[in-house]
Amino acid sequence: MTVKPDTTTAASAPRAADDAVGERLSETWPEEHGLWAWFTTVDHKKIGRRYMVTAAAYFVLAGVAALVMRTQLAGPNGDVVDPELFDQLFSLHGTAMIFLFATPMLFGFGNFLVPLMLGTRDMAFPRLNAFGYWVFAAAGILMFGSLLFEAAPNAGWFAYVPLSGSDHSPGYNLDVYTLGLLFLGVSTTAGAINFIVTALKLRAPGMSLNRVPVFVWAIVVTSFMVIFALPPLNVANAMLFLDRRFGTNFFDTAEGGDAVLWQHLFWLFGHPDVYIIVLPALGIVSAIVPTFSRRAIAAYPLIVLATVATGIISFGVWVHHMFAVGLPDLSLTFFSAASLIITVPAGIQVFCWLGTMLMGRLVLNVAMLWVLGFIVLFVLGGVTGVMFAIVPFDQQTTDSYFVVAHFHYVLFGGAVFPIIAGLFYWWPKFTGRMTSRRGGLWSFWLTFAGFNLAFFPMHISGLLGMPRRIYVYPGDTGWTVWNLLSTLGAYLLTVGLLVTLGTLVHSLRRGERATDDPWGGETLEWAATSPPKVYNLPVIPTAHSLTPMWDERSLASFTDGIADDERVLAHQHAVLRTSELDGRLEHPPLEMPEDSPLPLVVAASLFAGTLALLLGWYEGTLVLLVAVAALCWWLWPHRSPIPEDGADGGGGQT
């Protein structure tokens, strides 16, 4: 039986405001259609949805690669694919899942939700936002397209030198990897800058930093991590590309270079990167748990602190991926301790959720079910991570399937489960449709069962001495049964994901129409219509608490603001600007740019330039001049009635 919500307290004020001023706002924030609009839109909601759909497509492709791998490994002496293809499959699988699926998917969530949660109308740099998406989409095409030419990356997702150098990996495979990631890095950096600036400057009045939703905190911390972590990867990739093509010797040990330098650089990025993936996912959980516990998140300062601390500490643990390299024991003990310390913030978050649920009244929705599954899997994966932090144990199990099990538990359980939970939770907001409960239950249990069947046996095969990244194994090693179980689990998992996908897509046509606030959520995105109008909120509210939708004063500000032109801003395509710490209103409002083809043009030029570099046709990189010209046009100071034109001033120059 479906219980209709009591919308009188929760959604009536925003709805009334929308009825009052929505007409005027639609003039300055028009809903646009058509192919031209499709290519030139800078609306954060559309871009967010595109991120998610594109990332999901890349997930399917990478997932299919995983299934082929598992089929090959189902039994000993597998003959499904040859070693060259297997190497490309697992390398592309890992690279794509992490760079092309997990991070962009979460950035897609952020793109859609952050401005809504903050009570503003768009991201700080809308054109930069669009540019970031196009670059991401093109980078994925570049990397998956390489598989067609048997030139997909084939040295693993961390491409250790010297194997990835030109001596041992001639061909385009690793050039696709280095240039693809450099290209993709542009997109990620752009997105990160956008999130930080949006969260610092474009919040609703009254929303001081200690009233910002945990999800936004997570995205902001993640974005700062991107700013600090991505450069090591970019440097490493650039160095490797130069080594391969132009004869430099950064990593050539015969010429004074150092093979371990690559490992340091990669993991300086790589470890923060896994937290870049998981922190927004934990933010999603922190958004869902209070709603379905019917109370605000417990120990808010602690969970914010845990998020910040995780971000900082994650830069001090990178060597735990290199315990077998032969580094001095003294430094290993330090990194071992740091790896254990990073566990504490994770524990804080887990027990914050548990505390919230225990002190509240749990409502077991599909989204909440995925969250419960997440907690189970994340803790299981997390505790195996703690095991790795102990140096002798890591030295025994590194590069084994025990590691594969750990990171699939924390990546799939810790990232994909919250993503799916977020999809079920915000699906009404994304699409205006409600999902089927029965479909959701089937998809969850199939996925949960399939996942555990697929990945739990890997712990055992790892302990039984099975190294990772092997395309074949003999029959007398005792690994066969565990690998067969793993493969069966992968197929079951696929079925579960198919049901999940089916459930979500089915609701698009047949799903029940959603109200504005179907779950009675506590944050501001539920004040908007489902799906939101172009202008998001009719009135920019005043946030009086951490849970504005449950706060009568915040809700009243919608009604009060109808008559206040400074809160409606109907006469200009602009958003309110507030101070960084306290959320005090600053003048003047920030003017927002209109739709523009420039992001697409710049992205396409960059893509063309990358291709020219990849193929060694260096004159072709002159196409980047198109990007420069478009950037000049983009950044040209146009005349505007508003005095300060800081809208896109700093962005897009990446």
């Binding site: 600036v197 010797n249 003047p588 300060e644 962005g651």
Partner: protein, 209 residues
């Protein structure tokens, strides 16, 4: 419209106000540029860390393989040029806050000239150094040219931005109430200067220590 009171803006950017709550009153564009600069600074920090990592793991003399220790005369001249280009840049920035477009143009042009002189000298330096060692000469050569070349690229980008801003100035796009972009460009330019100090200390001075 609500025009911003100029006196209060300048007061809000005085050191005392900065000391209490520095980020207050900054525009989103300022933050965007700060973050962009941060990524660049981290990038150079990583490059320089790689330089020192390779140095420390190399047995024997540094620079290796008979490459001479970098001479300091030309780099110090370049340093003077680059650092002195910051002054006109700061002057231009302050000038436009008071609405003096002519001074803005003059300051930008001067910075452009000094920066171009820096790049020219760097090219001359490359001319002599490439005869001694290239980017394929040991990891040292690779790192030396990568770091200085990447910085030179940034200087060129900064020069382009200055030129771009200069064109905008000459077309009257910047006034006392509309000058945020000048501030961003100045900030970027100062950051490049600061990075050169790091590079100078690491690549040129530290082998002599």
């Amino acid at each position: 419209m609500n025009a911003v009171d100029m006196r209060s803006v300048s007061r809000a950017t005085e050191p005392e106000a900065l000391a209490t709550e520095r980020p207050r009153g900054r525009t989103p564009a300022w933050w965007g540029m700060v973050l962009l600069i941060t990524t660049e600074v981290v990038l150079f920090a990583v490059l320089l860390a790689s330089y020192f990592f390779v140095q420390f793991t190399t047995e024997g003399p540094w620079p290796p393989g008979g490459i001479r220790t970098p001479e300091l005369r030309l780099p110090l001249i370049m340093t003077v040029l680059l650092l002195s280009s910051s002054a006109p840049m700061a002057w231009a920035d302050r000038a436009i806050r008071r609405g003096y477009q002519g001074q803005l143009a003059a300051g930008l042009a001067l910075a452009l000239l000094l920066g171009a002189a820096f790049l020219t000298l760097q090219g001359i330096e490359y001319d002599t150094k490439l005869a001694e060692f290239t980017w394929t000469s040991y990891a040292y050569g690779s790192l030396f040219y990568a770091i200085t070349g990447f910085h030179g690229f940034h200087v060129a980008a900064g020069l382009f931005m200055i030129g771009f801003t200069l064109v905008g100035t000459l077309r009257g796009r910047y006034t006392y109430e509309r000058h945020e972009r000048v501030r961003q460009v100045a900030f970027y330019w100062h950051a490049i200067d600061g990075l050169w100090i790091l590079i100078l200390s690491s690549l040129y001075l530290s082998p002599h220590v």
